[in-house]
Amino acid sequence: CKDSLNLEPMNDVTSEIVYRTPLGYQQSLAKVYGSFALTGNAGPTGQPDVVGLDEGGNADYLRTFWKAQELTTDEAVIAWGDAGLQDFHQMNWTPDNSFLRGLYFRSLYQITLVNEFLRESTDAKLASRGISGADADRIKAYRPEVRFLRAYQYWSLMDVFGNPPFVTENDPIGGPLPKQIGRAALFTYIETELKAIEPELIATRAANYYGRATRGAAQALLARLYLNAQVYTGTQKNNEAVEYSKRVIDAGYTLDPNYRKLTLNDNNTSPELIFTINYDGQRSQVFGGTTFLTHAAIGGSMQASDYGVDFGWGGIRTTKALVNLFPNPTSSPDRRANFYTNGQNLEIASLTTFTDGYALPKFQNKTSAGVAGTNLTFVDADFPLFRLAEMYLIYAEATLRGGNGVAGTALTYINNLRTRAYGNATGAVTALSLDLILDERARELHWEGHRRTDLIRYNRFTEATYLWPWKGGIRDGRSVENFRKVFPIPAADVTANPNLVQNPGY
């Protein structure tokens, strides 16, 4: 009878079976990447990776990252009453916030997957499984890619939560409680990792590398890291920000002539995108990601079919702080001003009323040619985590901040963006200032997940020097406590892991 109690599942398999073949490695690699885009093993919902939360709303990386980065700023407000959701714009979130919990555990989940993949793809493991030659080489080449994903997630944790727990492939599953890492030490780790993998990653966007991490992605993340080094470590690294943004700029990416296309279904063909989270309406279904960004932005008198989807969810809009960055915003010569104003009020009387605040259908389930996606619920558009325009902006800002870039080049880069936006040179500027760069970043990169980081770098996130509608929960805005520049470590993990010390103020 003893043996008859040793049972195994019928369809799930052990790691030895998974990693017996190169295909198994590819399918594991797909999971490491895919946990950026998907919330679980069944699309759109049903087998969540991060449990105990609403799978589509609270456990998707991009959706929760976006809420932390955008809803807390002048760029976005949301109409819904989900628990803790209004806390973002009102700036009174707590360690129990379930979106922050989802974001935190999602980031560390992807890191845990990376660690497992690295453990299973060592030379010794490959040899023991009889995988050699070209197969082995291909699998080894995945290793710097997943290390990039881990570095990205540690950057995300460092930026959002400051001082997360730290685990690598040397920490086995079920091992001792992870130690907490300080923000500055984590900065060094990410920097070291990215520099180590930079030469190992494939140099350019080869045809079969769409959605995969290339050298440009590592360099772009380094540039972003250095630009914010003052915030993360207390020391500016503007020379490095110049250097790494330049490396990307010189790597062969070009601005897409059509700004609108960057957030539409055919953006996968854009020459500007450096690294993306990939979505597919038929095969990669999720209620987060660009599906959220498209549906939630539609409400009021907007016609869902105009944006390639079946229904609007009536959620996210923007404030006049963003709108007023554009000249004549309702019919602006700047094509990046893509507001929907019919029936929408510029002023926000109520955060929870969709028609208060201009709508912003930046992400759509349509191609630049106007063809709707094949699935009217799940959007095809990929999300640009890194694109060339950001590198131009980093180069210019780091130069202005004292980095050793060339001032004339910086101006050219900014005017490249503005020329694309205006369709001609009428939008060109003649001089740069840090304020102009911040505004230009909002005009160019709004709703792409940068705004909170930018405002913190400019000391305008919590301070009284810059207020926006409903900042801190009051109509005209107010300053809030400085500790809100980092989010709290979710209470759930502080309890589970006594090594963790909560961030100050929480």
Partner: protein, 988 residues
């Protein structure tokens, strides 16, 4: 010579099947269906005649037999002591006198009468410490059974054993309730084992108590036929309290405009006010007819006692279109062979049920759908049903308004979800008294429980709720549903035990030793199917990776029990069970579950025998350790990978890949452990005219199977099952039964039980953390991700975790104003507090039966005190924001809005303690009245009729449709009907 006569019971009703025999001879017989007997061939002279019937005091009478036939009638009285009565205790039986644990038996005569379609309802309210809450009013729906507060966070369902076959706890696709597939009319008795000294023999499945169901067996003598039929009408007891069309129109028209109801929104939505009055609840509910027919034949053919029963139930649901048709067959054969040394018990039960499930979505939408719009639109679109149409129609535009509710009636009429479920439970039990050692018996039990459920869901293309569900591979919109589902379950058990019983007169002792093994294997076969539109077009990428999955688990156990009784006064019972479960890693697989209990029959002491006060007095003390392994996944200790579905692929380069995901696991998982102490007193006064018991218990569950946060980075999932936490349940329960009136023509018995239970969580974390608020759960409707309950140390399980509402001078709750409990100047989740919980502090049961001449009657009352319910219907619909839905349609809502005027802005009002309401109640579960015509058809038959009201009334202050909500969140509850039943019973 011969003797004949009649045996009647305390109600002057005939007692069929009673044994009558001449002492000291082999002469004897059983009474027929009319209670008559005749024994002939008796030698003349003085004889002693004994009449005996299970559950009644044996009676002896002397008579002188001569050539003239003599008449000798008996009138038996119930034996509430039942000391020699045999009680089922799990792996055998024992004498009631020797019982040391807390065990309650309820037999046929005390079952609740009326339209009972699921067996557990037969004993609801009748046993202290046992709470049986009918899940909902849906046909065939199951009940939540909780014995002494349960022992877990997750699964608190007791182990149920039918004729020696422990049932699989899992449900089966297409049947809401596994127990509902057993015909209640086939059940002879329920025995409920409550304390650990009684349940430890079931080891790692004993923590939540055990219910042993015994079915009716064959009877000796000629075939007796019984036919019973019930006809009943179920009516809606209470509707959700929503705005009437007039109130709705008034409220919408006069709504003040503000930030929630903006002028633009109001202007737009005023156009949606129609000019009809529709009662949507009336449109989805209807009186429902049930007919339940049972035929049984029992007797002995040659030497083979048998009982065959057939049942047919046809039940309609209150929610229109829902139906359940169930046929059952039961066969019991219990021959004795080899001079009664081999007793064989064959039991086979089968059922086939055919259901159509009414879509519960109709309940919620009927409560919120615009009451000024008609049911039917007047045209043929969308099945003729009114739907919200998109005003900006055009090519490529969906004609329906997105995210708007769909017509409530359409969910019923246009969704055809039908299922067939087969189930069979059977076993053969061989009990052999070994010839070389008379007192030793060997018992072999082989049993099975198999079920198959399959069904189809068909929705036509016209249905608004299934309109344009997906685009096919060519991008064409596809509507409707044409899907199937299927599941099979099986469970095989084999038990073998030896039982040795010996009276050792020399030392005035009796020993009863049992030892044995049990092996049980569970298997499910879960089939997966692709998703199809009505016309049979497959939804792209919906083909399952694996069309079949077969999860399994097994148990292997060794157990022993020794009962030692000295002088019929002192009894010591010890049990031990060793369980090995396939769900646990091989090193830690085996658990040992011991118990010991002692009983002292004080009334047998000489100093008490002279007392006239107590006719029976027994003190019981017991302690035991039990386990619980439900809640552990079949393979949770193994590290495995699972492949993603075709709609969860990821694109790398130009290719899409299914993803291989490592699964969360815990190699150290094991069962929960509950240590129970029990002290009880059984008593009888006034020659046992008043009997009862009182028990106090203390249960401490440790290693709770908790879903806890995994320290980030240490597992492949953020929450997983671990053995963490402690919880206690302490309580007092008492039962008292008395014969209030005992006259020839009139008898009245009263029975009352009360249970006080207090649940407290005492630990939740591996490492002590005073700042840990607890685990939040209990998702509610309204917002996304709002949880209303929490498990916290020092509080009752599932306490509500809410904001403290502020009220104005008139007691009206102020919109969005809460107490800043931590005084930090803002209202955040740090101001949430624990307020009440869904568990009743006290629950009571009160039953009465009476006989007056040929009338019989009775009722069952139940009460819960201080159970709280979160009124999710009021909180999610009773606001302006709900009525003026920002997605631009009007919705109806709870009349609570007239009290609160809540705007519905923000996310905090959902969590107001205003919505946590006291749901204490008194319910009359059952009221029945019957009349026995006695002999009909020239004495060949016996006829009785009965009338019955179930759920006759509920007294409560709670505002929702029903105060009795398992789990404590009241959201679109399928109403429990009030049922009127006429019954007829005919015996031959």
């Amino acid at each position: 010579g011969s003797i004949s006569g009649k045996i009647i019971d305390e109600a002057n009703q005939p007692l069929p099947g009673a044994a009558v025999f001449i002492d000291g001879t082999s002469l004897g017989t059983q009474t027929d269906v009319n209670g008559n007997y005749q024994i002939s061939g008796i030698k003349s002279g003085n004889v002693s005649v004994t009449a005996r019937f299970v559950g009644y005091v044996e009676q002896k009478k002397q008579i002188t037999v001569s050539a003239t036939p003599q008449v000798l009638n008996f009138s038996l009285v119930p034996d509430s002591r039942g000391l020699d009565e045999v009680v089922v205790v799990g792996y055998g039986t024992t004498r009631r006198a020797d019982i040391t644990g807390s065990i309650t038996t309820v037999t046929t005569k005390d079952f609740t009468k009326g339209q009972i379609t699921s067996p557990e309802q037969l004993i609801a309210g009748k046993i202290a410490g046992v709470q049986i809450t009918q899940g909902s009013g849906e046909p065939g729906s199951g009940s939540n059974i909780l014995i002494r507060g349960g022992s877990s966070f997750g699964n608190n369902y007791p182990l149920i054993v039918v004729d020696g076959v422990p049932l699989d706890q899992g449900g089966i696709a297409g049947s809401p309730n596994a127990l509902s597939l057993i015909n209640p009319n086939d059940i002879e008795s329920f025995t409920v084992l409550k304390d650990a000294s009684a349940t430890a023999i079931y080891g790692n499945r004993g923590s939540n108590g055990v219910i042993i169901i015994t079915t009716k067996k064959g009877e000796s003598g000629q075939a007796k036929v019984n036919f019973g039929t019930n006809f009943s009408v179920a009516t809606l007891a209470r509707e959700a309290d929503i705005l009437s069309p007039a109130e709705f129109r008034d409220l919408v028209t006069n709504a003040p405009t503000n930030t929630t109801v903006t002028p633009a929104l109001k202007t737009k939505l005023l156009t949606q006010l129609g000019n009809v009055d529709t009662d949507w609840q009336d449109a989805i509910y209807d009186n429902a007819i049930t007919s339940d027919n049972n035929l049984s034949v029992a007797g002995t053919y040659k030497k083979l006692p048998y009982r065959l029963s057939l049942g047919y139930l046809s039940q309609d649901g209150l929610l229109k279109t829902g139906t359940l048709d169930r046929g059952t067959v039961g066969l019991n054969l219990n021959p004795s062979l080899f001079n009664n040394s081999l007793k064989v018990n064959v039991s086979l039960k089968g059922s086939l049920s055919n259901s159509r499930f009414a879509d519960g979505a109709a309940i919620g939408t009927a409560a919120t759908f615009n009451p000024t719009q008609p049911i039917f639109s007047g045209n043929q679109n969308f099945g003729g049903f009114f739907e919200y149409l998109n005003p900006q129609a055009g090519p490529g535009v969906n004609p329906l308004v997105g995210l708007a509710p769909r017509n409530p009636v359409s969910f019923l009429d246009l969704r055809n979800n039908t299922s067939d479920v087969y189930r069979s439970i059977g076993n053969i039990q061989l009990d052999y008294a070994l010839p070389f050692l008379k007192d030793l018996r060997a018992n072999l039990n082989l049993g099975y429980d198999v079920a198959q459920g399959r069904g189809t869901i068909i929705v036509p293309e016209s249905a608004g709720f299934a309109f344009r569900r997906f685009a096919d591979a060519n991008g064409a919109n596809k509507s409707g549903v044409n899907n199937q589902y299927k599941q099979e379950r099986s469970n095989y058990v084999s038990d073998f035990y030896l039982n040795y019983v010996k009276d050792i007169k020399s030392i005035n002792s009796r020993i009863d030793i049992t030892g044995g093994t049990s092996y049980q294997a569970f298997e499910a076969r879960n089939y997966s199917f692709a998703d199809f539109s009505f016309d049979g077009t497959i939804r792209p990428n919906s083909e399952p990776n694996f069309p079949l999955d077969v999860p399994q688990n097994r148990l292997f156990s060794i157990y022993g029990r020794m009962i030692y009784t000295l002088s019929d006064k002192y009894t010591l019972t010890t049990t031990v069970r060793s369980d090995a479960s396939s769900r646990i890693n091989p090193e830690d697989r085996v658990g040992i579950f011991p118990s010991a209990a002692f009983a002292w029959r004080i009334s047998e002491e000489s100093f008490m025998k002279s007392s006239n006060v107590f006719s029976d007095l027994k003190l019981r003390v017991g302690y035991g350790i039990t386990g619980q392994q439900e809640g552990i996944g079949n393979y949770s200790y193994l590290a495995n990978y699972a492949l993603s579905t075709p709609t969860a692929q990821y694109q790398l380069g130009n290719e899409f890949f299914n993803m291989y995901r490592p699964l969360g696991f815990n190699p150290n998982l094991k069962w929960e452990t509950t240590a129970t102490s029990n002290i009880g007193l059984d008593y009888g006064f006034a020659n046992n005219r008043i009997t009862g018991s009182i028990d106090a218990y203390y249960k401490n569950t440790s290693d709770l199977l908790s879903n806890i946060t995994q320290p980030a980075g240490t597992n492949f999932i953020n929450e997983f099952t671990y053995n963490v936490g402690n919880m206690t349940n302490k309580g007092i329960e008492m039962m008292i039964t008395g014969l209030a009136v005992d006259k020839t023509d009139f008898r009245l018995s009263l029975s009352f039980n009360a249970t006080f239970n207090k649940n407290t969580i005492t630990n939740l974390t591996l490492v002590d953390d005073p700042n840990f608020i607890g685990n939040r759960f209990g998702g509610i409707s309204g917002g996304t991700g709002n949880n209303i309950q929490i498990n916290s140390v020092g509080f009752n399980r599932a306490s509500f975790y809410v904001y403290q509402q502020v009220y104005d001078a008139n007691g009206k709750p102020l919109d969005g104003v809460f107490v800043d409990r931590n005084s930090d100047g803002q209202i955040s989740d740090k101001d949430l507090y624990r307020f009440k919980d869904p568990d009743a502090d006290v629950f009571l049961g009160f039953t009465s039966n009476f006989n007056y001449k040929k009338f019989t009657g009775g009722f069952t009352l139940r009460a819960n005190i201080n159970n709280y319910v979160y009124n999710n219907v009021a909180s999610s619909t009773g606001t302006y924001r709900n009525i003026f839905n920002p997605l631009e349609f009007l919705s109806n809502g709870s009349r609570d809005i007239l009290n609160t005027q809540f705007s519905g802005a923000g996310d905090q009002y959902f969590l107001s303690d205003y919505y946590v309401q006291n749901a204490s109640f008194l319910r009359m579960d059952n009221f029945n009245l019957g009349y026995n015509f006695g002999q009909v058809f020239k004495g060949t038959g016996n006829l009785s009729i009965s009338g019955n009201i179930q759920n006759a009334f509920v007294l409560t202050k709670y505002d929702g449709i029903d105060p009795e909500i398992s789990g404590g969140i009241d959201n679109n509850f399928y109403p429990r009907p009030r049922t009127f039943t006429l019954g007829l019973n005919l015996g031959f």
